[in-house]
């Protein structure tokens, strides 16, 4: 297949969902079935084409890029003319991610047809799904940082719109806003990182940046700046992939429709951060990667400890998503590139499956509660479920497979990728002694198995919370069940590696060869051969240990929740503050509310007061002073200036009044005055 054809195909894949969005936004309500078939059909075509692209990519050695000039700027000091290109890059990374996105999106489209049937904004929902798919594919296909940032923000927008789909609910619109703003905080850091890169290299293109760095050209000639740029760009991933400390938006985002949670907040969008780190991997210095690794580990641990005590089925899954994303980030941070990205792929399938499965449960619960005319019981609280296994067999069995996968039990896809991550983390610590990382990684693996089986058992096993309600529970229709079955199949090892106990011989692992670092050797992470050797040394013990830990986690959950041989309440009592902390998500929301939200609000109030009283006060003060001065001068004018004039006038007037008396009108008087006057003048003249 020609390279141009490949580019053309990828453009079609990119724009088909956008076309669906455009049609549905304007004409959605007038189309039959509100156009859901159109949106779904277009995405399905995108999926088929992306499969073609993947096969073409895997069978040819070269990656493909194409660029088009978007804008030209002049006058950047020391650089001059700069061309900004839009472009496509198809390598293994993007081709694999493309299939993941298109696949999950297609399945979610189908599932949504059932889940959102009869929704008030049904066509708008499908329009937004299309817009999301477009933006996400944009992130995947781009060959430069600017476009990455543009689509990054557009993905944030579609997430905002979809979380707020039921915006009449205050909690939904709050969650939408929170997601957008928290993401913006990460994005601002990413933007600054991009600026550092751009003003120095005058290009956004990955290739150009990498080759410039490889040639020894560092931003501001310092590796500290390169590390800073890397960490700042990683801030974007912290926001989007809900890493500590910006993880707070993702649990709230569960206010969106459940299929949206599956697509955006589990499988694809939140994985964009992982994709970004993988994409920029060659640029990260060892220091930057260490930061990344620790952020990932902290996130994985934090989220796992919270997931253990939650009762909302979607919230448990949300925290588990955060935890698994932390895993991926940790893997990339330690240099286990293929393992981290492979976990993204396997996680996308089983976590989307878990969310869709939870969606099926919630759907069935809603229907049953509706029939009971019960509007108070929470359809998402696992304490209101129990025993659903008998009524929803397809959902149960698929859910079980997904749970096995996420717990890392052999024969599943999750085992393959998680095992590689654990091996990579341990290998990393053998190289440079960061032993805390593997400790956390193994601990989280155990916790994951525990809380996921807790969820499974409380939902599907045991005694029903309400047996009458249970009898009204119905299995979901085919349009929702089939996506679950497909995802369950994709959660087995066979699609990723023919060896159920080792991923490294599989095609996916092979296709994800770690790109060489372009950073000067002194600051670069351990090279792949060194790292690989370390992994080989620890691999077998890690595998055995990971199986033991996973099985132990499952067994413990079984003892506590199925057999009830250990009381969960008693354990919670013993744990005391730890339990309460976990239950309350370690008070992050409260802390942020108190510090950042209230801090900002206080600052805004001070600014507003300052604006009204000081800034405007000075202006008004100047006005008042001017008025005062003019009043004084008015008074002076009135009293003195005008007084003088009036005084003169009065004098003249009064003199006139007196003189008037002379004017008697009698000729005799005038004659007498005349004679006297003549005499006086004569005397005066003579005396001189």
């Amino acid at each position: 297949m020609g390279l141009d054809t490949l580019i053309l195909l990828s453009l079609i894949v990119l724009f088909l969902p956008l076309a669906g969005f455009a049609v549905l936004v304007f004409f959605g309500k007038r189309l039959p079935r509100q156009g859901d078939w159109l949106a779904t059909g277009l995405v399905t075509v995108s999926l088929l084409l992306s499969l073609v692209i993947l096969f073409a990519r895997l069978t040819s050695p070269e990656s493909v890029t194409a660029g088009w000039t978007w804008a030209q700027f002049g006058g950047i000091p020391g650089i001059g003319e700069v061309t900004v290109e839009l472009g496509i890059l198809i390598d293994n990374l993007s081709a694999i991610m493309l299939v993941v996105v298109a696949l999950i999106s297609t399945l979610v489209h189908f599932f949504s047809m059932g889940y959102l049937e009869g929704d008030v904004r049904y066509s708008r929902y499908f329009a937004y799904l299309g817009f999301f798919t477009f933006s996400m594919i944009g992130i995947v296909l781009t060959h430069n940082l600017l476009m990455m940032y543009i689509f990054w923000e557009l993905v944030g927008l579609s997430s905002y719109l979809l979380i707020g789909h039921w915006y009449e609910k205050k909690s939904a619109s709050n969650a939408a806003m929170k997601a957008f703003i928290v993401n913006r905080i990460g994005d601002a850091g990413m933007f600054i990182g991009i600026m550092i890169i751009f003003v120095h290299f005058a290009t956004f293109s990955f290739d150009a940046i990498f080759s410039a760095v490889a040639a020894g050209n560092l931003p501001f000639e310092s590796q500290a700046w390169l590390t800073a740029a890397g960490v700042l760009i990683f801030c974007g991933a912290i926001g989007k992939s809900a890493q500590f400390p910006l993880h707070v938006w993702l649990p709230d985002a569960m206010e969106g429709p459940t299929p949206v949670s599956a697509l955006i907040h589990a499988a694809t969008m939140v994985a964009a951060g992982v994709f970004l780190v993988a994409r920029m991997f060659p640029l990260f210095t060892a220091d930057a990667l260490l930061v990344i690794a620790y952020v990932g580990a902290a996130t994985a641990l934090l989220a796992a400890t919270i997931a253990i005590t939650q009762y909302d089925i979607k919230k448990v899954l949300a925290w588990s998503t955060i935890s698994q994303l932390g895993y991926m980030i940790l893997a990339l941070g330690v240099g286990a590139y293929a393992a981290g990205f492979m976990h993204l792929v396997t996680h996308a399938a089983f976590k989307a499956g878990l969310f869709l499965g939870s969606g099926a449960v919630i759907y069935a619960m809603h229907a049953a509660l509706h029939k009971q005319h019960d509007h108070d019981t929470d359809a998402q609280d696992i304490r209101n479920m129990g025993g659903l296994r008998s009524r929803m067999p397809v959902t149960y069995w698929t859910f079980l497979i997904f749970t096995l996968a996420i717990s890392g039990i052999p024969l599943t896809s999750g085992f393959l990728s998680k095992d590689e991550i654990l091996a990579g983390t341990l290998a990393f610590s053998t190289l440079n002694g960061h032993w805390l990382l593997p400790l956390i990684a193994f601990g989280v693996a155990g916790m994951t198995a525990f809380y996921m089986f807790r969820l499974l058992i409380l939902t599907f096993h045991g005694k029903p919370a309400d047996s009458k309600r249970l009898s009204m529970i119905r299995e979901v229709p085919g349009v929702m069940a089939i996506p679950l079955i497909i995802l369950a199949a994709l959660s087995t090892f066979i699609f990723y590696s023919f060896n159920p106990l080792g991923a490294s011989s599989g095609w996916l692992f092979q296709a994800l060869a770690r790109p060489a670092s372009v950073v000067p050797e002194a600051f670069a992470p351990a090279t792949w051969p060194v790292f690989y050797e370390a992994i080989s040394r620890v691999h077998t013990p890690v595998m055995i240990l990971s199986i033991i830990i996973a099985v132990a986690g499952v067994a413990f959950a079984w003892l506590v929740y199925e057999r009830r041989s250990v009381s969960a309440d008693k354990m919670a009592g013993v744990m005391g503050p730890l339990y309460r902390g976990s239950r309350n998500k370690w008070y992050f929301d409260e802390m942020y509310e108190a510090v950042f939200v209230n801090g900002t609000l206080a600052l805004t109030r001070i600014s507003n007061w300052f604006d009204f009283n000081v800034i405007d006060g000075i202006v008004n003060g100047a006005g008042t002073v001017t008025r005062g001065v003019s009043k004084i001068s008015g008074w002076i004018d009135n009293v003195f200036i005008d007084g003088l004039v009036n005084f003169l006038a009065n004098i003249t007037g009064s003199i006139g009044m007196r003189m008037r008396k002379i004017q008697t009108g009698s000729v005799q008087n005038y004659l007498v005055f005349g004679v006297f006057g003549f005499l006086i003048i004569t005397i005066v003249l003579l005396s001189i």
Partner: protein, 539 residues
């Protein structure tokens, strides 16, 4: 084409005669729409024929005879890369403004539209004038109709608002008038055989070299006037008031056109006329710009009145413009120009949108709304696009401006620090906070106020007047070069020329003749000289 430019400028003014002839209010509205639309259509050839590569001299230049006795003050209009986009923005917005007040103005309709038309001629004149004196005259021509627009058709506190707006602006501009006369005489002595001149071509002549001390005072006088007009923090307090009290049309013109006169004047006059002072004061202006970005956003956040919130967001956006201009490089200044256009479009749209809500509910309090999205779906889409444009979402126009400005600032030699760009970038977070929070409270949630249940969606006229703005919001966002190309050559030329002249003046100035404060202030100049020398050698 010279004739066409003059026709475009004066057509609205002569249109007032037509308005005085017709009787019925309905006819007045239609005539105004006709006149403003004709003005816009006639201005299109100016854009299409514009030579984007030409620099240094304006196109479609009309030069009249001196009319003030012995002074070389003459009627002179033309367009160049600096003014082209803003000129077009003015002709583009006018029909929209007329349509936006179609049903909301029922008092003295003919008077209202006459004022708008006079304002239109004044604004076009401000952007086309190439004689500093004519610029001043046209500027005053815009002030008077604006005074009446707010004072007669405004809200409850309209008199206070309009008097404050008028006097505050006037104080600044009178100070500038004094400086202008000084500049006229100085230029006359240096480049015009002793004849007082305000011809822009002579004012930017290389032989016109104001001393550093003179430059400082003149720069401050001009700068003060422009700071008030933009407005730049802390001279902004007239703006929220005027915006809030003005009728919708007044707010739109004020935001879209009138505020741009200040920023445009900075780029057209303040920077090229006083090159050394502009470079020396650039960091201070950049600081004010950054403060404006953050401060405007913070104050916007707590406003309870939607219109006031949008008004404060203007201060934040204009902070970006100021920052971009004083970055002193093409990319920053280009960003500033496109950001002026962007702000005109998106903030203009926001004021129109708030006006539509006000017309229906007669309130602007955020707390009176809530849950409107369900009632007005089409309106919601428009409002959302304008909101997202305002917070700089990529793919829409606001992002392009902010991006160019921040990149320009980050690498600015004159500013010499990346902190301006970093803090500016953080301002983008705040923009999302105050805009989305407002949007949520107005549009989302359940309907809490019974009145809001009666709301009807926007009608064909209202959709029709918003669609063109939305079109450009997306167009600029997706293909920015279709717009930035008009100013690129001229901006590059202007900044280079300014820096060269600054270097020449600095070279010709003996350091020991300067008072202490001046030699400290212009510490930057020897470095500037060496930079320019360096660049010239490279060429």
């Amino acid at each position: 084409m010279e004739l066409l430019l003059n026709i475009v400028i004066y057509l609205p003014l002569f249109g007032v005669l037509l308005l005085l002839l017709v009787r019925k209010d309905e006819w007045v509205r239609w005539s105004s729409l006709l006149i403003t639309t004709a003005t816009f259509v006639l201005s299109l050839p100016l854009l299409l024929q514009f030579d984007i590569t030409a620099t240094g001299s304006a196109q479609y230049l009309t030069v009249g005879e001196p009319f003030l006795g012995d002074w070389d003050v003459k009627y002179m209009v033309g367009l160049d890369g600096l003014s082209m986009l803003l000129f077009m923005l003015t002709t583009f917005m006018a029909p929209i403004v007329v349509l936006s007040s179609w049903s909301s103005i029922n008092k003295h309709v003919a008077g209202f539209y006459s004022m708008l038309l006079i304002l239109q001629t004044g604004s076009l004149g401000v952007f086309a004038a190439l004689d500093l004196f004519m610029f001043y005259v046209f500027f005053e021509l815009t002030q008077i109709p604006m005074f009446f627009l707010i004072g007669i058709w405004g809200g409850k506190d309209r008199i206070y608002a309009t008097v404050k707006f008028f006097i505050y602006t006037l104080v600044g501009w009178l100070l500038m008038l004094v400086a202008l006369i000084y500049v006229g005489y100085a230029a006359g002595n240096m480049v015009n055989d002793g004849v007082f001149t305000t011809d822009w071509r002579l004012l930017t002549d290389h032989a016109f070299q104001l001393g550093l001390v003179e430059q400082t005072w003149l720069f401050l006088a001009f700068g003060f006037a422009f700071c008030i007009k933009v407005p730049i923090f802390p001279f902004h307090s007239w703006l929220p008031l005027a915006h809030t009290e003005a009728p919708t049309a007044g707010s739109v013109v004020l935001a879209a056109i009138a505020l741009k006169m200040g920023t445009y004047a900075v780029l057209r006059y303040l920077i090229p006329l006083f090159p050394n002072a502009a470079i020396a004061f650039a960091p201070m202006f950049a600081v004010l710009g950054v403060i404006g970005i953050i401060y405007g956003a913070l104050v916007a956040m707590v406003q309870k009145d939607v219109k006031k919130l949008v008004a404060y967001s203007s201060i934040s956006h204009l902070g970006f413009v100021v920052l971009g201009m004083f970055a002193f490089n093409t990319i920053g200044a280009q960003g500033a120009i496109i950001q002026m256009v962007n702000h005109g479009l998106s903030t203009g749209a926001l004021f129109i949108i708030v006006g539509m809500l006000y017309e229906r509910r007669h309130t602007r309090w955020i707390s009176d709304f809530g849950g409107i999205a369900r009632k007005m779906p089409v309106f919601t889409v428009m409002f959302m696009i304008a909101t997202l444009a305002s917070i700089g979402l990529p793919g829409l126009n606001g992002f392009v401006g902010e991006f160019l400005i921040l990149v320009g600032t980050f690498n600015s030699e004159v500013l010499g620090s990346y902190w301006y760009a970093v803090i500016g970038a953080l301002g983008v977070i705040l923009a999302a906070v105050y805009m989305l929070w407002m949007f949520q409270r107005v549009m989302f949630g359940p309907v809490t106020n019974e009145e809001n249940n009666k709301l009807t969606d926007i009608n064909a006229r209202e959709i029709g007047l918003l669609i063109p703005i939305m079109l450009f919001i997306v167009w600029i966002g997706v293909r920015p070069t279709d717009f930035t190309k008009y100013s690129e050559a001229e901006v590059t030329h202007l900044l280079e020329d300014t820096r060269t002249r600054a270097a020449t003046i600095a070279q010709n100035t003996a350091d020991d003749r300067l008072p202490g404060w001046a030699s400290r202030l212009y510490d930057v100049t020897p470095q500037m000289v060496s930079n320019v020398k360096h660049e010239n050698q490279e060429e």
